[in-house]
Symmetry: C2
Subunit: 346 residues, 2 copies
């Protein structure tokens, strides 16, 4: 397990006075400090995934017939209209069962170093198959997903084009790989923050720049760093002080469920903060709907310091600057069912 | 109630021998006969709905927060990826409750003279509000829908642009009107049948042309006529012979539930046959998944004559020619929730 525990060190850094002038020199210093920690999202996926796999993956991402009831697709809980998440504390799955944790955004997930809140999937390909076969999510099985896809004749040419060397291309691993290829395209470049990083002083407001300065100086960036401002390390939730049990439910020990190592109790993958302003509610529990409150909780739980109101407000302003351009997706026409296609189990 | 009961007369028309040559003269005769009964779909909506209303309506059509659980949108049951319907006998709604009847396609619904299987909504605007407040569908109320939309600040400018003369534009009637405006754009022109009607002899195969001839001569076109090959009249299901109760469940008396007139027992709006090949299962009950079987049921129930196998097969071929070009919809980015937005009731 990789852990970045620079937090104590960073929290001890003296807090710089807030920049109020927004002078060119101040902006360049802030940019230099930021570029040492963060990285802008490229304009297009790099490397570009295979177009035929992306096309197939897009169809599968919106395909409700991958669920046992034929009414839930990847897009149901990772809705591309609502920031790649579903604006609910936990998702509703097969037979209205509730999921265990808040649905993480699929946007920019390609930049996370592991997937799921506990990092149990190494990459998007490994992640993609999980919800399909989770009994409380899409409720199917690997075998039935393949039967289903083979029972929709129009999928065969799409799989064959995406996996031309595979003599039997309609299989679960290829479905996972295609979904992952599509998800590699779901990036949100050109946020005000990215444009600022690239040199546009006017891209962020003075309040947002103050927030970025506080975000760095207060120690938030010790964990929320890199291209995704998170998604690249694991941390105990409640490093300094455990938050309320409503926010950190005792029954969910996070990464401990995977590793069974005591040190991993209540350890979670640090989530990306990209598009955070449009993806409430917050935390793995989805218990906090107000971004200001989420920032306060982070201050006390992770930094051990109550942020003053002005700092917290400017950090929220900064977080607003992390909303990028949403991907433009033409809704796919899915291959039709036939009389022999396996039917929904409702 | 408008009823077209030409069926007996048409069924008595002598059956013309199947065209086998596909000569130019045969094609023109067939086209002339068809143009007396049918009409091609225009290339674009005419009249064109207001673009600002369409833009708002598109967002609302894909908006899960219109449902009580924030997980069901219009598109869930009228999925634009699967022919504007949901490939299920009946739809799954709020708290996994089953709907009463098969979800009719939203595609080309603008050409129906009334909406719902029983015609209880006069037009798309009146229809649009129904599912939102149906307890087994989206499970909300008119009041809560308005509270919800007012609680998402980004909707106000969209409503204001769509309804510039309205001093309080975020209201239920405007939401219905905007969804209807978007649905007016959901047409599927350029099917092989439309191209044939417009003069392209090569647009339909010889089998499809035989099927069109049989469709006219056997009397199917007595009810399935007009621009939508249906959607413009009411008919008793089982006009000549009641089908199996599994197909015509006794508890659902159709239009009788609206009018309470005995003559309306088991009367339903004749559905459009456009895109029928991609929208199984069939009938208001959704009990039949095989289009060939659906054609057979129509023969015995409505025409009082078992179609011979070749006729039935050619009619199925003809129905395949009714699949048009699906609308190209860029998936909308929905206005974000805030800390004050009403939350899902799960």
């Amino acid at each position: 397990m990789t852990r970045i525990l620079l937090l104590g060190a960073c929290a001890a850094v003296a807090v710089a006075p807030f920049a109020t002038t927004g002078s060119i020199a101040d902006d360049q210093t802030l940019r230099d400090d930021a570029l040492a920690l963060f990285e802008p999202i490229p304009e297009s996926p790099d490397p570009a995934p295979d177009p035929a796999q992306v096309e197939l993956g897009k169809a599968l991402f919106f395909e409700p017939r991958l669920s046992e009831g034929h009414n839930i697709s990847c897009n149901t809980c990772h809705n591309l209209g609502t920031g790649g998440a579903d604006l609910a504390s936990v998702s509703l799955g097969h037979r209205w069962q509730k999921g265990g944790r808040n649905s993480p955004t699929v946007l920019n997930a390609t930049y996370n170093t592991a997937q799921f809140w506990d990092g149990r999937a190494a990459d998007l390909t490994e992640q993609a198959g999980g919800p399909m076969v989770n009994p409380v999510e899409m409720g199917s099985t690997q075998q039935h997903v393949v039967e289903q896809l083979k029972g929709i004749p129009g999928y065969l040419p799409l799989f064959a084009a995406a996996f031309p060397k595979d003599p039997d291309p309609v299989n679960f691993a290829n479905a996972e790989a295609a979904i992952a290829a599509f998800e590699q395209t779901l990036i949100t470049p050109d946020s005000p923050f990215d444009r600022f990083l690239r040199g546009d002083d006017a891209a962020m407001t003075a309040d947002q720049k103050e927030g970025l300065r506080a975000f760095i100086d207060q120690g938030c960036a010790a964990c929320h760093n890199g291209i995704n401002l998170g998604g690249n390390s694991y941390q105990p939730f409640g490093l300094v002080e455990k938050p309320d049990w409503a926010i950190l439910p005792p029954g969910d020990k996070g990464r401990f469920e995977i590793t069974r190592a005591e040190e991993d109790a209540y350890v979670f993958k640090v989530p990306t903060l990209r598009n955070i302003a449009v993806t409430p509610p917050y935390f793995h529990s989805g218990a906090v709907w107000d971004l200001s409150l989420a920032v306060d909780v982070m201050g006390t739980a992770q930094l051990g310091a109550a942020l003053d109101a002005a700092q917290a407000a400017s950090i929220v302003d900064f977080l607003d600057s992390l909303t990028g351009e949403m991907p433009q997706i033409v809704y796919p026409t899915l291959p039709p069912s036939t009389a022999d296609t396996p039917r929904p189990q409702q």
